[in-house]
Chain length 305, copies 2
């Protein structure tokens, strides 16, 4: 029973007030797979790159036991590139350029042997492509889906069709408001859960994340960080840690889903500590567990001593 | 050992998408005192109103065992009035008018017998007035201070002088950024704590609150509410619940301060459920305890089952 991940694989050019990096490893499927690789083994990555995709990045992914048979390499094409700039207030980001390149005509094909995957994480790409992937999975048991504002704006109907079929839908607070036109997040969550997904996670960046299930609301704190070097990939790392942990434990109880939210937040916090994927490249399980416990420390209180 | 509260006592005209109310009971000292009255007995209120201040409001405060000997009633003057309008997104508020009236020449005088108060809550009024109050307290043991963006903008030096002398400083996230010119809240918190207050609380509205002490950061969730009728007074109710609980328990340990933050959040959540002070007027201690436990339920998770 493997974990299948689809999304973008990209070369990112990122500028923050602290540094600048060109053609760094990026993309939603990349961050998700790396984060999930600390829990799941193997992770199957479905995506596309051009023939210019650096061999060292292939090796990096392979070192994390990420299965790349489903990563198409389009000969003569260039890899999808994204350029972004973060301001002094890292909550504000400008997209400087988007070159689709090989991604333009991406037709995700799941190799036959991976179609029996039970756990699926549909990383942020167009909902039409996410549907194409889901259609090829024979009997998915647990489907997690991430998205972004772009798709709500230009492919809303596809997205609505998709989320009827997923178990967990992840989006951020402004996207939840955009999708529902409802400023109150608790009401927005109710509306979105009525659209299909039994489990909803609203990411709130520096304010943590909210988990909504049938009977519970769970509020996860953000890890308090003085230095965020590069917020790129935080949301994807969250999805990867969340799905990876649930795939590892095979336990979909409400209590374990809460833990998964914390492991997702844990991976997001490691992600933003360094540029590009660097923060996810060399972690020990002990480090991950330690940070999980720190989340507990900052959010727990007792009724009495 | 009583709890002394200073701040504004006002007549509020508030419009939200749901209703409109005119000349309702309002003001920082009012909300703080009412919220604290569920924990502390008596609460001593220091403030000023005009001779038009409705008798029924006096009675309401007295019913909550709030000691009004320090509430000046200026003959022939009108009470401080504030008018505000909340938009569909309740996070956005316009001030429609501010009439200082009796507040214009407010010179807070603490009746002799209250000058030995050990617990002091300096509600949101000008820092010059907060200092005047503090100067009259003989040997304050625990001083909590709230503020707002206006004072950071026009009386920054007074505010800086004041917070050197307080134990707990409370402000919201945008005010913390304004005061420090630092977008990262964790860094901003460090900077503010270096300005004096050993304990800092940053309120984040719908995202909860952060508590910073010497060794700990504590992240309190917001109570998930589908319906916020009137956000006015939420921050003051937080300060009142927080200070009242600490005054009641006389326990300034880090664990108890965390509980106080949750009791503050609890009172803020009751406050915004109804218009004006209505949400704070008729609570039972059982209701308060139940909600406290709900905060625990939404924020706690276990390492394993």
């Amino acid at each position: 029973m493997s974990l299948l991940v689809v999304g973008s694989v990209a070369l990112d050019t990122v500028e923050t007030p602290f540094d600048k990096i060109e053609d760094a490893l990026g993309g939603s499927a990349t961050y998700i797979s790396l984060a999930a690789s600390y829990f799941s083994n193997p992770v199957i990555l479905i995506g596309v790159v051009g023939s210019d995709f650096p061999k060292q990045y292939i090796e990096l992914l392979e070192q994390h036991n990420i299965e790349l048979e489903g990563l198409q390499i389009v000969d003569g094409e260039k890899t999808f590139r994204w350029g972004g700039k973060y301001h002094y207030d890292l909550n504000v980001r400008d997209t400087l350029f988007t070159e689709l390149n090989a991604f333009q005509n991406f037709n995700p094909v799941i190799p036959e042997k991976f179609r029996k995957s039970k756990y699926v994480c549909l990383g942020n790409i167009g909902p039409d492509l996410q549907i194409k992937v889901l259609d090829q999975i024979i009997d998915p048991q647990f489907v997690v889906c991430d998205t972004m504002n772009l798709w709500i704006n230009i492919m809303k109907q596809d997205l609505l069709n998709l989320i009827k079929r997923v178990d967990v839908f992840i989006l951020n607070d402004s996207e939840a408001r955009l999708l529902t036109e409802e400023p109150n997040l608790i009401k927005a969550a109710k509306i979105i859960r009525e659209m299909g997904p039994k489990i909803l996670i609203i990411k709130k960046g520096e304010h943590g994340a909210l988990l909504f299930t049938e009977d519970t609301i769970f509020s996860a704190p953000a890890y308090p960080m003085e230095m965020i070097f590069d917020p790129t990939g935080a949301g994807d790392s969250f999805a990867g840690g969340f799905t990876g942990y649930l795939h590892q434990t095979r336990d979909l109880s409400p209590e374990n889903i809460k833990r998964a939210v914390i492991f997702g937040s844990t991976m997001a916090s490691f992600c933003v500590e360094k540029f590009s994927t660097k923060g996810l490249e060399d972690l020990s399980y002990l480090q991950i567990q330690d940070r999980f416990r720190e989340f507990k420390k900052i959010s727990h209180f007792d009724e009495s001593d």
